[in-house]
Symmetry: C2
Subunit: 248 residues, 2 copies
DNA sequence: TTCATAATTCAACGTATGTTGAAAATGATG
DNA sequence: CATCATTTTCAACATACGTTGAATTATGAA
């Protein structure tokens, strides 16, 4: 009966274009925030629309479906920070071959922070990870669930990107082994895994741990954790017990 | 019109009790399998019922709601393996105080596998984790999501159990530092975190990694990863670079 | 045999989800 | 001013979910 009372105060918003257009990247941003809060499966299209202050249908105007939204976020993110990682790797390679040409076998030139070039490369990677994914729990959550649960949609897409990151770190380790700076008895795949997962895990779990256990400012806690991790990792992979303990 | 055609061949099963009763633990097992496959949020009550070959309502006869099912699994699991961890810790404490009374400061008695008591304790913990949660991706998935996403239901329950595990490992590290066997410059909380998370992560991600990268039998790959992890970890925390490299 | 109780299923509820087809408003172009 | 493509919303669809109340059957005690 009282189906329509259009003189009502509240809802029937006009249809056509808004005064300021909503550009797709805003939708992606909203989607990212929602996925961060509710996970990829739990975050609904309606919630994304609510976050972007638009109708759910608009998402289907700009993207094919929910999966396409997910993939779009993914690609944007990886394409932003994979080049950074590649640059770090390239920088070390350049230095390393140059060093080898000069006949420096032990490769122990030290930079202004007291780190060897290889140490510096790993440290830069840690920092790159943090810069790119610290404020993006959604991204980490997507990765976590997509890789660990074998049925999540778009897993192939995810795995392709993950493999590229893995290869970059592997090359670094492999170069380090060849130059003699790293132990010869570490498994490349497995060590890469330790490095990468821990870098990400620190960002994932320290907010929680910090809240319940440690009580220092979060940024400080993550700083500390990264340093401790790098030292532990480096001691684990370095060839000789070098005395530059306090190099960080 | 043709709403009811009860002379149909298929579905209208009799109601009352079944010839063999379904005991609640079977429901929990089914729930575990479903959660493993689909996650805690994604795994539906209906799917659990399907897995247990019963009606969804039966789950509400035995448990209050979905969360209660989750919590029941959780408690059963933790109550099974936390005592194991405590025993390991106790065993080391006993040895350590005995050793201290004998005035052995460096504490380098070696067991039949060439490990110091502290090494042995950590190694046993790794093995305990594996024994208890390797075949339980559901459990690990529940933990991962419950701890990392701050809104998951029953997070307090989860955190209580996690904290107990954390404290056990922390005590081990702390004892080791006191006896001088471990470095004095490692942060207890953070190092505990590295140890625990990696133990779990190996079980989570190696099936995936192994399928796409490494190609060896899964058990073998996990064996190798655990050994490599323990060596890397130990080198990272041990006080002096001891020469028992091949002790595993 | 009768009767209470425990175990099980049926049918439905309200709500949320991903998605779609059509309608409407805007801005630009003729 | 008319037309048209673009952008936005509306209303609905089919399906799935967690949950509940009533109905049904089997079992064991009285």
């Amino acid at each position: 009966m009282l189906k329509m009372m259009n003189d009502n105060s509240s809802k029937p918003r006009p249809r056509g274009p808004k005064p300021v257009r909503i550009d797709p990247s805003q939708l992606l941003d909203a989607a990212q925030r929602v996925f961060a809060r509710d996970g990829v499966d739990g975050g609904s299209v309606r919630a994304i629309a609510r976050e972007a202050k638009c109708d759910p249908s608009l998402l289907y105007y700009h993207f094919e479906n929910k999966e396409a939204i997910f993939v779009a976020i993914l690609e944007q993110k990886f394409n932003r920070f994979i080049p950074d990682l590649e640059n770090i790797s390239r920088a070390y390679s350049a230095h390393n071959t140059r060093g080898a040409r000069q006949g420096a076998k032990g490769t122990r030139p030290i930079n202004e922070f007291g780190r060897t070039p290889l140490q510096e490369a790993f440290w830069q990677m840690i920092k790159t990870f943090r810069k790119n994914i610290q404020n993006d729990a959604s991204f980490r959550g997507m990765m976590r669930n997509s890789v660990a649960t074998n049925h999540s949609f778009a897993q192939n897409k995810v795995m392709n990107y993950v493999l590229r990151v893995i290869q970059i770190v592997q090359k670094l380790l492999s170069d380090g082994m060849e130059s003699g700076e790293l132990r010869g008895d570490i498994n490349l795949y497995i060590t890469t895994f330790f490095f990468l997962r821990t870098c990400v895990e620190i960002l994932d779990f320290f907010p929680v741990l910090n809240a319940t256990l440690i009580s220092m400012p979060l940024e400080e806690a993550i700083d500390l954790a990264e340093k401790q991790w790098f030292r532990l990792f480096w001691r684990g992979i370095a060839n000789d017990s070098n005395p530059d303990e306090e190099s960080l």
